[in-house]
Amino acid sequence: MSTTTVAHHEEHHDHPTGIMRWLTTTNHKDIGTMYLTFSLVMFLVGGSMILGIRAELFKPGLQLMNPEFFNQLIGVHALIMIFAALMPAATGFANWMIPLQIGAPDMALPRLNNWGFWLLPPSAILLTLPFTLALFGIGDGALATGWTFYPPLSVQGGIGVDFAIFAVHLLGISSVMGSINIIVTLFNMRAPGMTLMKMPMFAWGWLITAFLLVATIPVLAGAVTMLLTDRHFGTHFFDAAGGGDPIMFQHLFWFFGHPEVYILLLPVWGFIPQILETFSRKPMYGYKAQVYSLWAIGALSVVVWAHHFFTAGMPVPALLYFMYSTMAISLPLAVLFFCWIRTMWNGSMSFETPMLFAVGWIILFGIGGLTGLVLADVAADAQYHNSYFVVAHFHYTLFAGGIMGIMAGVYYWLPKMTGYMYNEKLGKLHFWLTAISFNLTFIPQFFLGLAGMPRRIPDYALQFAEFNMISSIAAFVLGFSQLLFVYNIVMCARGGKKATGQVWEGARGLEWTLPSPPPYHSFTEQPIIK
């Protein structure tokens, strides 16, 4: 890839300042910043909820909260982390970086973009408001069904379920709008000469994510709408007495829910190879193989959903089909792992914070993937289902594979976004604290799960006490080390050592041809890719 022109214009346009700038902005960088800030705030909110859970689980018995509140914290923690922390972070990166990476002046549908973001704060309020209402004696708190909304519990639940249903509607509309915008941008706004197979890997990851979102979020919207009408309008979609079937909800939910896992991970699989090639100072290995693997995983992800409820009862041929198709996902994923490692192979590697996170991410996400293979085994799943083994597994994929990946991206692009270098020492300290305390939190949970501790229960048998204590202490270290992350970002935004345009010695791609920070309007004349 080579760039012939880098156009930027420093003239000022009359855009509003102060709060109106952020309310009315259609600039992809402003919107990206808002998405990322919102995500960081909700990450801390969701994190403090789970610290409440870990505090309760520190000792056997009930100390701090009643079981209803415990259940509410668990469900809202998951919804916030998935829909309000991880997804907006990925969308924030997409807004910031996709136009820069493909040489476009902005996103294709800027007003839709603004609307997409401003749906998020109301939905976050809808999710958390029931907690506050309960303090004033209105309702009985937030949804207490876990994030999966399974009926009949969710049909019988209080107003928290209704709030969560509407929050999911808004979040869904927001991410569908974001996805449409990204697909249109990637199809129509690429710089001349940039064919699809020359797109940066991050753009590929997001293109597949966006298609998955457009195809599956409406199914979730439909499912929770049926739940709403079951609750209030006398329908019987999930009520066996009225001819419905509660298991059908599980099929509908996970038809969305499994692709959702890849929706959270595909953007990360996009930019991690870019980080690896930057700090290995050589081009990424197997670009085509990676693109095809991403497509293969995207396609497989919509046909494996029932492995989330093997124990609900299914005919043996169905069990076998879902087991083998789930395990088949590990093949393209193994290709990706191979390409990531091969990218680093014989490279002149250096370990700045983004690279530390990226390499740690490969190892930890690998553990998440391998334990997923164990759960995909129907015979083994009968024991592990709904145990802490599952909790540990999906935190290895979603905290290590998702959030630690996002953190790698934050450190990688932060100098580009702010124009200043972050504090490298603090960044490294943040990585080591996060990686070590994360493992200390969740490795004990694998053992707890193997020993049979069920999840979503506020109390446990005495033999689980030691592992739970270790897990709780480590979780608090993990939680409080994130304050370092926040501090580092804030200080970096306020000033520091000036970053160069290329920032990293080995950085490749169009975004690094612009100065740091990039001008408010970048690429008004598109670069030509040869």
Partner: protein, 197 residues
Amino acid sequence: MVRCLDVHNMASVEENAPLSAQEQIRLKNKRLGFKLVWLVVGSLLFAFALVPIYNVLCTITGLNGKTSTTAALASKAKVDKSRWVTVQFTSSVMPGLGWNFYPKQASIKLHPGQIETVIFVAKNITNQEVVGQAIPSITPGIGAANLKKIECFCFVRQSLKPGEQREMPLRFYVSPELPSDVSEMTLSYSFFPAVKE
């Protein structure tokens, strides 16, 4: 932003050009955007279409042990004396229904094709008239379609007066097409409070 760009590039765009490059791309973007909205609408419709699809699939394949809710014709097939099938019966009463409900016998051993009658007993232990609806489920699901009910108390709602006890018959046979590796089946009935119509 887009408006800013237009102003910005005014100089470079021919004054009399019918549509500037910027406007063309804006139109193109809008068109593709609306096409994608159809995809979203399609997925939403698909979600609701899954409800009937699921029910049909379950009835055909016996997924979830669903059985036909209408009476089957009496068996014309010959009784297959060469094999035995054990059918077990379980019962449960869902919360909100103040009934006792149980089968008179726990299981029955029969040949495929042989018609049998089993009695279930329900008693209203509350002091008001209650309407219930029994929902059957069969394990293993793969055999569900082969259990043919000629007469069943689950086909209609049952109304019991305060303290009333009723013996309810189930007449059924197991079709000889039952897969050969199935030798035991469990027929479970859950009595729900009937939904208001």
